[in-house]
Symmetry: C2
Subunit: 333 residues, 2 copies
């Protein structure tokens, strides 16, 4: 896992070099005027990459975007109408049977289907009309890291090309450098506090909601601590009642339009005695990134999260590459 | 809160008596052939009711369904294309400013908008073309219970009428009796164990995924314990690594097509030493409902959850009607 985290900037550089041509070809082949809505399918970390992508699709392409529920197809036997849909399947392994079956149904239903996968020869890739390989290289640790970052970056490149947004293309080009800066941020104070805690929380909103959920999942996988992720729009209502000072709260603020909302939630919780860890805000408690593009930085903030969790697990003597009881491929039906 | 939980069967009877005419009028007014997809908007408990509704929409109406992200409109200033959408706003108070603003945008964008609300004179109702009042009567406790149940039941009636499914209409008619049976189930063993625990988990899938998330939120609100909810399709992958025997797991299985998936996940976790509380399966650890309609029973299973949480909070001397730091109306932008 450590080596894969260290490779993140190079994997991103590889995607920018080798993947952009393929993304341009897919964008040219897509018939966007036919599309009335988008469905994004993915589970676990891929689902969180899908959450980052859904905000880009809604804010940059002006299309509403749903998270697919594969059981609708594989368990309930329904075949939702998808003729007007752009259907994007995200799968790191490309081998989860229910995701493959749901994508096959979408293709058969006439959806324009795109697989964002690391293995272009996987069943997930074959189930879709178009394939975007994220070219992250082999990933062996159960807890995905570089593939998650490259998946999010591929989504950013796809939306940048679909919207013809030159500024977004150019900030994607800065990814390797920005991810290398993020790799240098030491967030071990958060991970050390979390590994001793009964539970933890992560707060984001909009573009950082997916990364917040990803940070929570990875903390559970790597440190074995239950961590809950919420939008700053949700956390001050019901969930707040369960937050106590022994629950470290990680705030993920990448700037932009939702930045105030996140800072206000963190400030309110801090006033009430919560333990806040954040690289942003007036009094950051972790090293942060200088202001940049919020789309890219929402992705980059995962890098110090991954690094800190991995280092803490090593300190505790946990087998970070094979967390107890977990497997790499999700065999769900 | 206690009185409102006890009122659940009568509130459902009121909806069946007073609300079905209004639902029939809305269904007649909707132009379903124009609809290519559905967007459901709601936060917290209303969002969980929306998750129950999205499975009904996808499995019974064959339309893909998205959860709205209000910040796309209120923070990012985007206006997603919604001309072909059926947009359903769920709000108990009917007063959350960002949900109202996003629904106004949807109506302006040409969506067919429907508000499912308790107060038909609320801003949420005014923001939509059509209104379905859930006629739950006033709810004073911060933690919503009878309004959540009536919202889910209203969604079930709406889909039953839209699909012309007489069996679904008839199982909705059985709601008052079924909810009264559910009120008699004593799940205090789960709540007592949870109130002492560092964290807890709830597992459902498909139609019980929304109720599972609702149970987790309500446990946090009422008992102040962090509780995570997962689909049985997700929990055995990453999240499992954070489950230990001191984390009680509540299984919500209402039968039907996903039943095996839920039981297999619970059995796997039990074999590995987890503490399972469930009214279903070969060796139930809580009293359960006899087999019935999975759509209705997914709703009914919330009743013993609410009752047990409330009773445990009273036993602990917590102010269940006004949990510390929470307010009734969600004032988010």
């Amino acid at each position: 896992m450590s080596g894969e985290i260290a490779e993140i900037p190079q994997a991103a550089a590889r995607l920018l070099q080798e993947g952009t041509g393929e993304i341009a070809r897919v964008v040219e082949a897509l018939q966007m005027p036919r599309v009335s809505h988008v469905v994004v399918s993915g589970r676990g970390s891929s689902g969180h990459a899908g959450t980052h992508l859904r905000y880009l699709i809604e804010t940059r392409l002006g299309l509403s975007s749903a998270a697919a529920a594969p059981s609708v197809v594989t368990r309930y036997g329904a075949s939702p109408r998808l003729k007007e849909a752009l259907y994007i399947l995200i799968s790191q392994s490309g081998r989860s049977p229910d995701l493959v079956a749901a994508a096959e149904q979408a293709t058969a239903a006439g959806a324009q289907t795109v697989a964002i996968v690391n293995d272009p020869n996987s069943p997930a890739a074959r189930a879709c009309r178009h394939v975007i390989p994220i070219t992250a290289g082999p990933e062996l640790a159960v807890a995905a890291t570089k593939t998650v970052v490259n998946t999010m970056l591929a989504g950013m490149l796809l939306v940048a090309r679909l919207s013809g947004d030159a500024a977004l293309v150019s900030s994607a080009q800065a990814a390797p450098e920005r991810l290398a800066q993020a790799l240098a941020l030491d967030w071990s104070a958060w991970a050390r506090r979390l590994s001793d805690a009964p539970a933890g929380f992560v707060i984001g909103r909009g573009l950082t909601l997916g990364p917040a959920r990803e940070a929570a999942l990875k903390a559970a996988e790597v440190l074995g601590v239950p961590v809950l992720a919420f939008s700053s729009a949700e956390v001050l209502h019901g969930p707040k009642a369960a937050i106590r000072s022994e629950h470290p709260i990680l705030g993920l603020n990448a700037g932009g339009e939702v930045s105030d909302s996140i800072e206000e939630a963190l400030a309110t919780l801090a006033r009430e005695g919560a333990s806040i860890f954040s690289g942003s805000g007036p009094r950051p408690t972790l090293p942060g990134l200088a202001a940049g593009d919020p789309v890219l930085d929402a992705i980059a903030l995962l890098v110090p999260v991954y690094r800190a969790l991995e280092a803490e697990a090593v300190r505790l003597g946990r087998d970070v590459d094979r967390p107890p009881g977990l497997v790499k491929v999700t065999e769900t039906l």
